[in-house]
């Protein structure tokens, strides 16, 4: 019985080792090496932390801060849009159209990521139809100056990653169910109290999953930044890609990638911890322990 259970897990473990552990291990290994001459990509006969020192230039630091800013702001915007949309889809919309709504959320995913992003390039162009329309109806009197800025990158990532936020939130809200909300109202809680004390706490796992699903790939994204960001909207992903593809310096690229991974993990942990601390007084306020039970 034990052998059988182990046997069933073999494909999963094989997959994880081949496509996760080995590549990440290789990247870490390369990051301790160096670029041997003009035509080599990496060598590991001498190990050092030199590539990390090389990576940590002031420019790299600026790009890192920019990436963090885009990553956090983008995730927060996705949450702010995703929460009401997913709540409406799961609770308020007529049940008969819910399948259709999910399909509509997913439709952009049928098109290639790059094509979708280039689509925004066309829309946001200073002489594009959208800019002309805004000027035509008198909302602005100058051409749209948004393309190749950080704002364009933000807009692009929110558009690209929003479905990854909405779907887990939808599932989470759907699972809370009507009966608990009714029980809450029956006990004197209005809509707002019910949302804050019943719906949100029960949907919390879905909210965390949605935020991570958006934040992690967003931090490593380089297509959106390349297409919409230009010189002002640099992200770490682009630096990593350019080391591997243009400079052919795998060692330095690997060191940057490892730094990115560390920053993603550390920032997620710090943000999670901060949110937990912020929610602490709220939780304590509603904790009830009977005197003798202690």
């Amino acid at each position: 019985m034990r052998n059988l259970r182990f046997g069933l897990a073999v494909p999963a473990w094989t997959w994880l080792i081949l496509f996760f552990v080995l590549p990440v291990g290789a990247v870490i290994w390369f990051s301790f090496g160096y670029k041997p001459g003009l035509f080599g990509t990496h060598a590991n006969d001498i190990l050092s932390f030199d590539r990390y020192a090389e990576a940590l230039t002031p420019t790299f630091f600026d790009v890192f801060l920019n990436t963090l800013w885009v990553g956090i702001t983008g995730t927060v915007i996705c949450l702010l849009i995703g929460l009401p949309v997913a709540y409406w889809m799961a609770v308020k919309s007529p049940p008969s159209i819910r399948g259709l709504l999910i399909a509509i959320v997913m439709v952009p995913y049928w098109a290639n990521f790059l094509v979708r992003t280039i689509g925004w390039q066309i829309i946001l162009a200073p002489e594009g139809w959208f800019s002309n329309l805004l000027q035509g109806i008198g909302l602005t009197d100058a051409p749209l100056e948004i393309l190749y800025t950080r704002s364009a990158v933000l807009l692009g990532v929110v558009y690209n990653y929003l479905p990854l936020m909405i779907l887990p939130l939808y599932v989470a809200f759907d699972r809370v169910g009507d009966s608990l909300r009714e029980a809450s109202k029956d006990l004197g809680a209005n809509r707002f109290s019910t949302f804050v004390r019943v719906t949100i706490p029960l949907a919390r796992p879905g909210i965390i999953v949605g935020a991570l699903l958006v934040y992690i790939p967003l931090m490593g994204d380089y297509i959106t930044a390349t297409v919409l960001g230009g010189a002002q909207g640099n992200m770490v992903g682009q630096l990593v890609a350019s080391q591997f593809q243009t400079a052919q310096n795998w060692a330095l690229g690997s060191a940057m990638a490892v730094l990115l991974i560390l920053v993603i993990m550390a920032s997620a942990a710090v943000i999670g911890g901060l949110l937990w601390l912020v929610a602490l007084p709220f939780r304590n306020r509603y904790t009830v322990t009977l005197e003798e039970a202690r």
């Binding site: 009714e182 029980a183 809450s184 109202k185 029956d186 006990l187 509603y286 322990t289 009977l290």
Partner: protein, 393 residues
């Protein structure tokens, strides 16, 4: 006690009670699209009364409860709780609490936090919350579970917490939506007793929705038997059981043997293929010769070996001959199933200690007294329901 018995609200014809804890439904109608769940229902519930809404699924009992709770709004009519109309008042501002069918305990809170929830919404001071939660948990003997998560409790324990969570708010009306449905039989019977005791101790109006007639009979001051969104009969348990107003009620409460036949000229009996079935009270409201049905409860039917019956037996009213096709032991009673002719089955139930010893295949006679017979206008659907309903006690 209440001196304001003015006739301002004389709309229902009856005298609606308006004190705290009174619930009045006045011509309430509720549609769901094409379907009508509740039609022009009027009901006055007195303060401190234990009333059951009894009926099969789809009869409108749960919709009625949800309208009193505030989860549904009636399309027509008025609902008054403690003398004030609650039309348009949201559920969270009604002085009414509900014990839900599946309990609906908050899984992310401890037992104590579940019970405290309603008080916290009312911004009750912390010390008072602790005190009231403790005494509410004492009331249902669940205090030692205060710090458990509600998901770690058994069905019966969850049921008690749901009760405590509602009662801690001291509502003037408590609504119970089939709260015992998910419990096993022994626990259910225990909880029936406890609920009844609790209700008479607290003096809170209980509106209890159930499809289980045994439950309704054992606990209620009055029972409203519902059918297709209307109240078919509203009376205490004794009346509903002994003098059902229709064949439908007769079939739904307890078990019945139904026999069809033409009403005799004196309208106090029917002529059936198996002889005359005679009742004591006549039905002058039904035309003589029309098809009617007689209802006789299994516990009123005597069964005896055919050879023991006298020679004149076949000519006597209220006596049929048949073959015993089944005997089952139900604990306190023995149940006999007798085949009469080829279109009638008669169920007889006798107390086990003095039950006749009969074997399947025996020729038997079934007889009953005229007082046990009730005559109703023909209601095929009701007769059907009477046989389908499984014996629950």
């Amino acid at each position: 006690m209440s001196t304001t018995m003015t006739t301002e609200s004389g709309r229902t014809g009856t005298d609606p009670v308006e004190g705290p804890g009174a619930v009045v439904l006045d011509g309430v109608t509720k549609h769901y699209g094409e379907a009508t769940a509740v039609r022009e229902m009027s009901l006055s519930i007195e303060p401190g009364e234990f009333i059951s809404l009894l009926g099969p699924s789809g009869c409108g009992k749960t919709t009625t409860l949800r309208m009193i709770a505030g989860f549904e709004q009636p399309d027509a009519g008025d609902i008054r709780v403690s003398g004030r109309s609650v039309l348009g008042v949201p559920a969270y501002r009604r002085d009414v609490n509900t014990v839900f069918q599946a309990y609906a305990l908050f899984p992310h809170m401890s037992v104590a936090e579940n019970v405290a929830y309603g008080l916290q919404q009312r911004r009750t001071p912390k010390a008072e919350i602790r005190e009231r939660v403790a005494s509410a948990l004492d009331l249902v003997q669940m205090r030692r579970f205060a710090d458990r998560k509600s998901t770690q409790l058994s069905g019966g324990q969850q049921q008690r917490i749901a009760l405590a969570r509602a009662l801690v708010n001291r509502p003037s009306v408590l609504l119970l939506d089939e709260p015992l449905g998910a419990l096993d039989r022994q626990l259910r019977e225990e909880m029936q007793l406890e609920l009844k005791l609790l209700q008479s101790r607290l003096g809170i109006t209980f509106v209890f929705v159930t499809h289980d007639q045994g439950e309704a009979l054992s606990m209620s001051d009055r029972i409203a038997i519902m059918r297709d969104g209307r109240i078919e009969q509203l009376a205490d348990a004794d009346t509903v059981y002994a003098r059902p107003s229709s064949a439908y009620v007769a079939a739904f409460v307890g078990q019945q043997n139904f026999i069809e036949g033409a009403l005799t000229a004196s309208r106090d009996g029917i002529a059936t293929a198996h002889g005359i079935v005679q009742a004591t009270t006549a039905r002058p409201d039904l035309p003589a010769g029309s098809v009617a049905q007689a209802a006789i409860r299994p516990e009123f039917v005597e069964v005896a070996d055919a050879s023991a019956a006298g020679e004149d037996a076949p000519t006597r009213p209220n006596l049929v001959r048949g073959t015993l096709i089944g005997v089952s032991h139900l604990g306190e009673t023995m149940q006999y199933l007798v085949r009469v002719g080829d279109d009638l089955s008669v169920i007889a139930r006798r107390p086990t200690p003095d039950a006749p010893r009969l074997a399947v295949g025996d020729e038997v006679v079934c007889s009953w007294r005229t007082e046990s017979v009730q005559l109703f206008a023909l209601d095929a659907a009701a007769a059907e329901a009477g046989y389908v309903e499984p014996p629950t006690n």
